[in-house]
Symmetry: C2
Subunit: 592 residues, 2 copies
């Protein structure tokens, strides 16, 4: 048990503490021996204070000071003085503590990674020694930010009469359609729990139960191949409300987000947030999560080029394709041919076969495709795109999904490259009226775009049978700076429409009841109209922290291989344990 009790955190010492006796506890960030004095940067999660060992203050302390290594854990007692040579880049840089007593609480081996924010070590090494990596000030800042975001959310929802209700982790497959993680049951031989992909069904059942306003900040699980911003387990802010429509839900949620952004960044966000239909978002941005901090909108020039002699354009249009352009205004002189070839790369991942371009110069247009276009076609395109001298026009011609994918990706790249927005700006946007279904290109099967509990727009109800693909959903996504941070919908609340929905999705009534019978049955006992939303907390915090990767805001994340480099999970387990769970490992690989 240490004898000295910490009185202050290391990061908070200022001029006002001069003359005070303090006790600090923390880690040795750095030790310098200089002119008969020992200077130690003492670090805790709040920051660093300089502490000085001086023989004339305490010979005993000085002798111990000489033994201190990097990352030793110490507690020191001493008086705060004005610093001789101030360091104004450090918040505590005007003062230092002269050590009267010191206690070494633990020593330390030389750490395999440096404890500083810009350490350039590989992420794998950082993950293996995560407990050292988390000593970095920026990582501690991210953990604190995450805590603050959830606190702000909880405070807001509590005030609005939502209650947090925990739903089961050991449960039944949920309707999202990704692969489930499963858990063998020991007591119920041959049976398995699924870890929830979301609390969707339970939160709807809570609405059936009259809970009225529910929320939960909760772990969800999807066994999918991981991209940069995915993890096998992730956290949702999950909400549901009864007796409401879209407007009510959007209204309370934008107030919540404004509360969060105000609390974290001190910014006042204008309410209501802008709202845009899915169709408009696709038309103008090629994307259902547009970053509205900058322009560079997509301009449809199909009509203007439909009589073109240029084969690439005309054949695209013949096959039902489209041509869209971006006007990179004023940038013609800043992009060489080589630069434009580089831009083209950002479209190819999305299947574009090429990126056509026109520079508008004092002398007319400069473009490899100019020779295929008539004067009037060029003029018509310039009119449509508002192209003027100095502008660079970029074109993609293909089927709509390719054009939209390619140009929206290029647009996001250019927005960042050309510094078209302020990093601290927060542009929220509601995207509404999503299609209810999407059709798998290969199998031709319909699936629910959001999930099968999403209500159709009332006036599209009859389309369910006749033209399901044209039916719009009462669904909405919340977009922040080009990221989808949340999505939700008004739910179906009658078993008739729910059964119809399953029928359109190709389920027999029996299948539907086998999977979701408890919900279909619940709908028959008096279910209120209800709807909700779920946010990806990891992604939201990542954006607010200005990080590029959700692993930066998760204390103990997994790799893209779904392993934890720190604990080495997953691991092998004993045969006895498997046998108790009534399972064997299938060592011969039978699956394709």
């Amino acid at each position: 048990m240490e004898k000295l009790k910490r009185s202050h955190m290391a990061g908070i010492l200022r001029n006002e503490h001069i003359g005070k006796e303090v006790i600090l506890a923390g880690w040795v960030q750095k030790r310098r021996d200089l002119g008969g004095l020992i200077f130690v940067d003492l670090r805790d999660k709040t920051g660093i204070s300089q502490v000085v060992f001086d023989q004339e203050v305490s010979k005993e302390a000085f002798i111990i000071g000489e033994t201190l290594g990097t990352e030793y854990v110490i507690v020191v007692k001493g008086k705060v003085y004005e610093r001789f040579s101030k360091n104004l880049e450090m918040p505590t840089g005007e003062v230092e503590v002269f050590v009267e007593e010191v206690e070494v609480l633990n020593d330390a081996r030389t750490p395999p990674i440096y404890i500083k924010d810009d350490d350039q070590v590989s992420e794998n090494l950082r993950l293996k020694y995560r407990y050292l990596d988390l000593r970095k000030q920026n990582m501690q800042k991210n953990l604190k930010l995450r805590h603050d975001v959830t606190k702000l959310v909880r405070d807001f929802l509590d005030k609005e009469n939502f209650i947090e209700v925990e739903t089961p982790i050991l449960t039944k497959p949920t309707p999202e359609g990704a692969r489930d993680y499963i858990v063998p049951s020991r007591v119920n031989q041959g049976k398995f729990y699924a870890l929830p992909q979301s609390p969707q069904l339970f939160k709807q059942l809570l609405m059936v139960s009259g809970t009225d306003r529910y929320f939960q900040i909760v772990k969800c699980f999807r066994d999918e191949d991981l991209r940069a911003d995915r993890q096998p387990e992730f956290t949702q802010i999950d909400c549901e409300m009864s007796f409401v429509d879209e407007m009510d839900i959007m209204d309370i949620n934008e107030k919540m987000m404004a509360h969060v952004v105000k609390g974290i960044k001190g910014l006042n966000i204008t309410l209501p947030f802008p709202r845009m239909t899915y169709k408009e978002a696709m038309d103008r941005y090629g994307n259902d999560k547009p970053d509205t901090r900058f322009g560079l909108e997509l301009i449809n020039v199909t009509e203007n080029l439909k009589t073109s002699d240029f084969k690439v354009f005309s054949s695209t249009i013949e096959k039902g394709g489209i041509i869209k352009a971006i006007n990179v205004s004023g940038e013609a002189d800043n992009f060489s041919r080589k630069d434009i070839t580089n831009l083209e790369k950002h479209t190819k991942d999305y299947g574009a076969k090429g990126l056509a371009w026109i520079k508008v110069t004092e002398e007319g247009v400069n473009s490899p495709i100019a020779k295929f276009l008539s004067e009037s076609e060029i003029q018509s395109v310039l009119d449509k795109t508002e192209g003027k001298t100095g502008d660079l026009l970029l074109f993609v011609a293909d089927e709509p999904s390719v054009v939209h994918g390619a140009l929206s990706n290029l647009r996001n790249y250019l927005g960042k490259e050309l510094n078209l927005y302020n990093k601290d700006q927060c542009n929220f946007l509601w995207v509404t009226e999503f299609p209810l279904f999407e059709r798998d290109k290969e199998t031709g099967r319909l699936s629910a775009m959001h999930h099968p509990f999403t209500a159709p727009v009332d006036e599209d109800l009859l389309l369910l049978e006749k033209k399901p693909e044209d039916a719009r959903a009462r669904a909405y996504d919340l977009v922040l700076n080009g990221h989808e941070i949340g999505g939700g919908s008004i739910r179906i609340h009658t078993s008739e429409i729910q059964e119809k929905m399953f029928q359109v999705l190709g389920f027999t009534k029996k299948e539907a009841y086998k999977k979701f019978g408890f919900l279909l049955e619940a709908f028959q006992y008096g279910t209120p109209p209800h709807g909700g939303i779920a946010y990806g907390l990891d992604r939201l915090v990542m954006i607010l922290a200005h990080e590029e990767n959700i692993r930066q805001v998760i204390a103990f994340p997994k790799t893209q291989n779904a392993t934890c480099l720190l604990t080495e999970a997953p691991t092998t387990i004993d045969d006895d344990q498997l046998s108790e769970l009534h399972i064997n490992i299938n060592s011969s690989e039978e699956n394709s």
Copy 2:
């Protein structure tokens, strides 16, 4: 989309609303047609309001009113009036709403259980129709109470500079020693994640990382055979602090509990909480979680009876056993022989072979064993137990664990039966200085009583090798009204003592590193002294809600068979899915 928007909750209407136009939404609790009027009890989670359909107010509404069935979901608009015949037992009983407009949002089949608190239906039916069961006011109250408790905890810890950090659910086996739930990995063939029994290792790693003050309200998992107050998944309030000792942790935690009790019950709890060593708790109450709301302490009369001729007593003492008594003061006349035989039952579950008794009457002692005892022995026992006229003395003689188990169980039964305490009272107690180890009676193996990361009391360090069973742990439990609601310890923070600990527990160094190597390694890079505590949230809320069963405070609990009667989890799954996970079901039962 409903046309009418709710303006008020049903449970809040009072005299002050008279004359106001309100819109209520909810469920039809009851409909009565009386004297040309239709009276409907409209229920939402806040309570019930009476709404009246009167042809003279609205003929259209009245016609719809005639069609309303139990649990129909409706929204009504109307004016609040003073009620003609007031019902002062209902909070809203002084007013009623005369309906001008009504909309039926959903109809309902006759529910299989009644929506009222004292419905006497089987718990299994309640669990199958949990969404109906949760409509009951007491269940909604419990959900709200649970929300309020977690909110109070989070607010308190946030103010005290704790941050909530999420730790992984898909992880490695943790050190608690119960059976793990496991999750097969698809990507890493033949390997498994374990669901955490607690975040113990991660929270210690967070202390290594300098996070300083951590908490989390988090799901934990144990695959054990379930008792009444256990669930496969349960929720912990988990805390850890650095640079502290026991006193700091107890101090901040009792402030937290006082904050919770004040917030929930409005009670002011005196701080600090009483503290008692494990040894004293066992001596005085036979129990390490004594209910201190009442006396009936255990009194050791072994010395007083050691020369007794009564074979049961003398042979017990010869074999190293003890005799303890409870003085049920003033109750001699209230317990017949038959009553005492009933009391005996409460000792037999704990292995007691019998319950001896003495009634102290005006005429001397009345007891079946009196004839075996000498006058001086009887006097000595009366002196020790402070037995006086009217008292009933109850005795158990056996080995200490049986005596303590039997008498503490009997004591708790009597405390409740005899109404010795006020149900609303909150008696907290810290129990300290637990043994570090316990020895398995059958195998003779030592295991950690708390867990293997618990620090020994400094002065007992040398006992680790010589007499491990005598070593005390720096562990503490928090007891509330006879329930252990939380437990924690100061942790070992050096790899030397941690390795020694594993050695005493019979691990080779290699085994210890295989299981917990990442923690042992972490301890070498500068680990601060640290400790913490974990609370069982379900049990805490159960006690505060005056419930007898944690299922009453869990929205969707599982049965003792670890199944969910609502969703029918766990379920069978497709062979394809198993094959993708590289496992088979072991249909022939090989395990014993």
